[in-house]
Amino acid sequence: MKPPIFEYALPSTVAEAVSLLASRNGNAKVISGGQSLMPMLAFRLATPELLVDLKHLKDLGAIRIGEDGVRLGARVRWCDIEGDARLAVSHPLLAEAIKHVAHYQIRNRGTVGGSVAHADPSAEMPGIAMTCDAQMKIVGSAGTRIEAAADFFTGPLQTSLEPDEILTEVHLPAWPAARRWAFLEFARRKGDFAMAGVALYYDLDSGNRITDAHIGAIGVADRPIRLTEAEAVLNGNQMSDKLIAAASAKARQSIDPPSDIHAPGAYRAALVATLLGRGLKKSAA
């Protein structure tokens, strides 16, 4: 499985990278960690004329944590997230979700930007981006723009990125210390893409009622989704077993996952309900 022929460029700045992409009329692709792109090249599912390597864009490799939240540079790797002790407090949901990504060798190379731009509907990082209302920073020939995750993911392995645009940063909003959360996924084997996964968080008001519930699901649609109907069941109520059951049932009804060789849609819908129920229970403990 040898890749097809392509050229290779190693720009020193983001502007240079953008300019290279723009020059090939849609036939150039960014390579970041390469963990998603390389298999596609090996199978010849991707046949770009030119690969633009972000290797020298060191600034994109930073994890910046401040009052406005966590800013992940596009070239931040899974092992960088794993190794950043600050995230246990600054964004425990992110830290937990990333533990499930792939395997040791891939974690040394795979990047936030690569995963989000690849937009696999079963991948954890796009799921977290969607759940947490992430803001994507995108640089192209037309300049820099910020896009909400909900608008960024447009379909299976599809995003709003134009051929000359590079995702440079994923910005997760600030995380209050008292926030409740959970991340649960079910995969056939450790490190596999999830058959389904649920990321959730909510805050509690002074009356211990749930507010601002966010529930994201991966593996059950053509992109990561929010389970807004289940969120509506939770908001304004105190956590209870009855509420959990109601929210889970609502989640199951509100989705229509596709069937594939690994699972029928009905299984994935039931799985989301199960994971949501378990996650809510865990978050309340």
Binding site: Q35, M38, A102, H103
Partner: protein
Amino acid sequence: MQIEFNLNGQAVSADVEPRTTLADCIRNDFGQTGTHLACEHGVCGACTVLVNGEAVRSCLLLAVQVQNDKVVTIEGLSGDELTPLQAAFRKHHALQCGFCTPGFITTAHALLSHEPDADEDRIRDVLSGNLCRCSGYVPIVEAVLEARSSYRDSGSK
């Protein structure tokens, strides 16, 4: 494209097509055939090498991407005598056909170099990125557990 990097302690250079993977470059341009190809799509781990001390899948890297980097393969982790890790593999019969073995040894070396106190769960977790069809993994885990002591004594390599 002309590339230069450090391979097993030696400065090397080659003229490669951009599409040449690091795995193929190591095997064909430099004749280091200890790194094996079993899937070429980044799942099996047989092609694992160390780049700047980190275990990576060499079939998922282009040779042109390791310009100026330090690459270590199974050959670079071997000498006239078996290393403690290699001796542990032999002692525990952690290989049968041997095809996946360089990938496991390279990965285990990286893990123990960074985490000499890794427990069994962590070892299994990390090794779950390498496929073995012969051994059933039990003896491999035993071998890596035993090899920890040599990494603790001398620290990271």
